[in-house]
Symmetry: C2
Subunit: 509 residues, 2 copies
Amino acid sequence: MTISGDLLIGGIAVRGAATEFFAVNASSGAALQPAFAGATKDDVERVAALAWEAFPTYRETSLEQRALFLETIADEIMEIGDDLIVRAMDETGLPRPRLEGERARTMGQLRLFAKEVRDGRFQELRFDPADPDRKPVAKPDLRLRNVALGPVAVFGASNFPLAFSVAGGDTASALAAGCPVVVKAHSAHPGTSELVGRAVQKAVATNGLPAGTFAMLFDAGFEVGQALVADHRIRAVGFTGSRRGGTALMKIASERKQPIPVYAEMSSINPVILFPHALSRRGAVIGKSFASSLVLGAGQFCTNPGLIIAVDGDGLEAFISGATQALAEAPAQTMLTGGICEAYSKGVARLAGHAAVRQLAQGKEGTAQQATAALFETTAADFLADAELQEEIFGAAGVIVRCGNEDELFRVIDALEGQLTIALHVDDEDLPLAGRLIPTLELLAGRLLVNGFGTGVEVSPAMVHGGPYPATSDGRSTSVGTLAIYRFLRPVSYQDFPADLLAEPLRSR
Amino acid sequence: MTISGDLLIGGIAVRGAATEFFAVNASSGAALQPAFAGATKDDVERVAALAWEAFPTYRETSLEQRALFLETIADEIMEIGDDLIVRAMDETGLPRPRLEGERARTMGQLRLFAKEVRDGRFQELRFDPADPDRKPVAKPDLRLRNVALGPVAVFGASNFPLAFSVAGGDTASALAAGCPVVVKAHSAHPGTSELVGRAVQKAVATNGLPAGTFAMLFDAGFEVGQALVADHRIRAVGFTGSRRGGTALMKIASERKQPIPVYAEMSSINPVILFPHALSRRGAVIGKSFASSLVLGAGQFCTNPGLIIAVDGDGLEAFISGATQALAEAPAQTMLTGGICEAYSKGVARLAGHAAVRQLAQGKEGTAQQATAALFETTAADFLADAELQEEIFGAAGVIVRCGNEDELFRVIDALEGQLTIALHVDDEDLPLAGRLIPTLELLAGRLLVNGFGTGVEVSPAMVHGGPYPATSDGRSTSVGTLAIYRFLRPVSYQDFPADLLAEPLRSR
């Protein structure tokens, strides 16, 4: 499959008329061919109109048709073959095994949502029969189902070029719900995006769906994404990225004539709480496994463990020693983009220069495109005094907050913002103390986990990849797992409808 | 039970220190005793702190405890006896049968949510067992449940002094979800509010719940409500009222450090579409029943049918003649407040003076506190040219939009804003045309109904009392029926939790 740098609109490839840009080899910094052409406002208008036009047909496809479509997308992505992996390696600097795994996850997500669509429970069919004899007034016949919200704008994520980009979780769940999708491709991996976008476009065609069911736009800047979110035919937004980016989209969406939901996954430092007995029994081992989790994928996971909270003592010293030794051996890693690498270096420098912060360890140094892991420590009092210490540094940097006692530990936890995950490391004797914390932790995060780290995100029915603001814009939702489909649905009640007017699934009783 | 005019905070009655105000007899305009004392910022601080303190205990009450609490509230409301009905009649001008019916509905809602709590499905328990042998990595144990969002601010509605006020649908569903509730009582019926508030307070005490589980504040202005929505311990808002009021709260909520969901039910003109065959066969009869629905409760229902859309012809003339005759006989009715009556009169005068609008009928005139029903007509072209003609006039005023042909009818429908309900009047021969419209109507309203009017809102599992903006602030929700509980919940995932750390319902497998 060739990469042309074109926009994908209305079932074909169309040359954009706005600023051109190039993908960059993440490892070398060299520009990659071809030039990608940005979309204009006219293109936004066109894709929104086509998506709106496709919507009535697409949302009333049968469950089987829609499931097959999702499965076809998975097949078409596999059909691209190794070109996809090679291009993604070039554009993101991520290693082959990670990208092959991510491709498998992406296909797995599509197939999982196909299953969820066939299952049909997401329709939330409810039948509430009439009772003409009820006093004082007769009871009407009421039936309910969930309907799709409308066309969804999906923003590709820099850190998941496959699983959270063109045909990633947001796209899969929106399409599963019956919503056409317009993707704003991430400009850090436009070639990867185009390859996948063409695979989706092909699946649209072979399944005989309206061409407007899917489109993909490029943009060297922010205008296209902003215009999409402002367009009256776009009815929901899926986004994974920075807090600044997410809140900007939230603002646009809330100021529209008709505000729409924005599902933005933004910012999380994923605190890890180390309990005394676990620490004293296996502090060094936990420290070592923490270091592995911290540097995984150059720390570029939304669930990267950026904050360690523990009470001072020998156990914590053992943890630090284990983590420090492991980190010292950690090779420098190529980050997704030069910009991300630069932001990481700045964040690390800010911590290193902070009066209340002490650097404990750092990984090996590498090339200019590579990032060096770093571990810092501060005290509970200093952490509580400076909200900036809670800001996410995207990459393999962690801060340990030393608490003088349990009371300080509780106060540090009370000061936390909303998170995607919070991990607890406990032994049996720690359970009473941990139990006292759970009610607070439940209010702070979408996922709590014991004796592990949040970096593996299972795609399953019981997963919540979400959490209170600023982890996400809407803590009532998840962007991973089957519950993600509900983000793009709303209930409609049908009263006293003759069978002929009812949608097929509502006729059955 | 006496009415003292006090705030209800922390299980007791407390005299407010802000501006005093009096309830007003809706029929006579005379002030009613006693004086109600407004709350200060300190009171807001106090109730938020108490609600936050109560939250951990209240949200972990057993399902049975919580269900009993809701049932106790219903019993306590009944215990107030006729004093409640008499005071509500004075304050709202609504007739006895309506208020007795509304009391029954209020108790029915509380009992329905008690049943929903016992049923437990709202917890959305999901069990996703571990698989240590899975390749390439072991699968963790994942369990999921919905947890309560936190303290909820509920705003009493002027038009439902019982069913959507202190212990109305928002309060019942928030309490059912496990959220403490702080009510900002509507100042149009403060005595009614206090009576019900004291009943809830008593139920809190007899059920041994934390005193902060419920509080009620008065305010002559808007500051208290705004301060509540801005408070960091308030985690969701339930509101029924004007578009201006609802959007003001949405703005405050979105600008908080941690934005929260606002469920505001605001503005709907509930279009009624009359189809040709139904019109030609029984236009006059539909016209008559439309008039009855229009004047029901002085037109002060959120679901009042304010817009009629039909294609010109003899059938429409018959409809108009039926409606006109019935309306001419409609007595003037006391509105809820002088302010509402004045706003209604202004709205009617605005229509009457509109160059593109013609008055067709009006009801009988009454006293200064009473409103006269009114029916107007305009053309599709004029309706499409002036968005103001789509603005809700709260009260018994309707506008007929005459369409020259089907095409115009479709265009009028395409121009509609989001609605709570849309009604269709059809005969068998109309079904093909109606069927073509349903996909559009589904996107516009929370409830579609056939051969009826939306004024009766069934409290049931298949009800949606919601709809796209501006009908509500969040078209993914309903404020009536059992689905309303989901507004106040969010999912949390628990990974590899030892049984001792899991909440009881998640231990069972």
